[in-house]
């Protein structure tokens, strides 16, 4: 009765590499999608005329609301995040303090946003639409507001 596989250097190396490699090298890509598709504004929206009720019947409930200096802001937003990372390391941390690791990571954020500003009477005052923006509109807006308030 003999061995089914002939033991050779290539075989042993293949086995060792196959076992060790997953612990040392890894590449990951994670995609996160949040929210429904945002419809771009069409010619049915008119600043100074379109009401809050009309907007709600067309676009539904907003993803977020905010009151900014007497103006009500409704935001419809879809976010897409992509995270990728390549890591190479030798996990020695259980044996010693030395734990060499080399890694590169990237993060990509994409925001489709429709921001609608209303007067306190519920009349559309301003429309802002961005597609594929790298920054969330509301966060940028609020940071600008705070910066302005701080001056």
């Amino acid at each position: 009765m003999g061995f089914r596989f002939s033991v050779s250097l290539v075989f042993i190396m293949g086995l060792v590499v196959g076992i060790i490699l997953p612990g040392c090298i890894s590449y990951q890509f994670v995609r996160q999608l949040r929210g429904a598709e945002v419809m771009p504004p069409d010619n049915t929206l008119h600043t100074g005329r379109t009401t809050l009720g009309e907007i709600l019947s067309i676009y539904g409930a907003p993803d977020s609301l905010e009151e900014l200096g007497g103006t009500d802001l409704l935001i419809y937003e879809r976010t897409l995040h992509g995270n990728s990372g390549l890591a190479f390391g030798i996990p020695f941390s259980d044996l010693s303090f030395i734990n060499p690791e080399l890694s590169a990571r990237g993060r990509l954020g994409r925001y489709d946003t429709l921001a609608l500003f209303f007067t306190s009477d519920g009349i559309l005052r301003e429309i802002v639409y961005t597609k594929g923006s790298s920054y969330p509109y509301l966060k940028t807006l609020l940071e600008d507001e705070r910066a302005t308030d701080g001056e």
Binding site: F5, S6, S8, L9, V10, F11, M13, G14, L15, V17, G18, I19, L21, P22, I25, S26, Y27, Q28, F29, V30, R31, Q32, L33, R34, G35, A36, L52, G53, I55, L56, S57, Y59, G60, A61, P62, D63, L65, E66, E67, G70, T71, D72, G82, T119, S120, D121, G122
Partner: protein, 126 residues
């Protein structure tokens, strides 16, 4: 040549054995039904009546001429694949949301409804 073939077989077996796939789903539940909206009439329904039917909102927002009560629930679906040194993940979250707008006298002025949680899906990130 045989040794090379054996090595390929072993590597393939290891690849399969250390690979895995995952499907997950989570719900952030808030009990509401869109059909309950039929009970409400803008201009007459009060905030108390909405609270009686829908319960406490997920969050409230102070607006320039009143308040908004937001009721929200979400469904997230995740898909993951591990292939030896490669791993891929995909997560999608969609929401059901109702927003009630009240004036300063707590009378319902408008409401908006979006029901997208059921559209959340499994998938690959590429």
């Amino acid at each position: 040549m045989k040794a090379l073939r054996d090595a390929i077989v072993i590597l393939s077996m290891i690849s399969v054995c250390v690979s895995c796939a995952m499907f997950g789903k989570s719900k952030e539940y808030h009990g509401f039904d869109a059909s309950w909206l039929e009970r409400f009439t803008p201009g007459t329904t009060t905030a108390a009546e909405v609270l009686e039917v829908f319960g406490a909102p997920s969050h409230m927002v102070k607006l320039s001429n009143g308040n908004a009560y937001v009721y929200e629930r979400s469904v997230s679906k995740g898909t993951g694949i591990w292939l030896v040194v490669l791993s891929f993940g995909n997560y999608e979250t969609q929401y059901d949301r109702i927003v009630f707008f009240f004036d300063n006298e707590d009378i319902l002025t408008h409401y908006g409804l979006s029901m997208n949680a059921g559209d959340s899906s499994y998938g690959f990130p590429f």
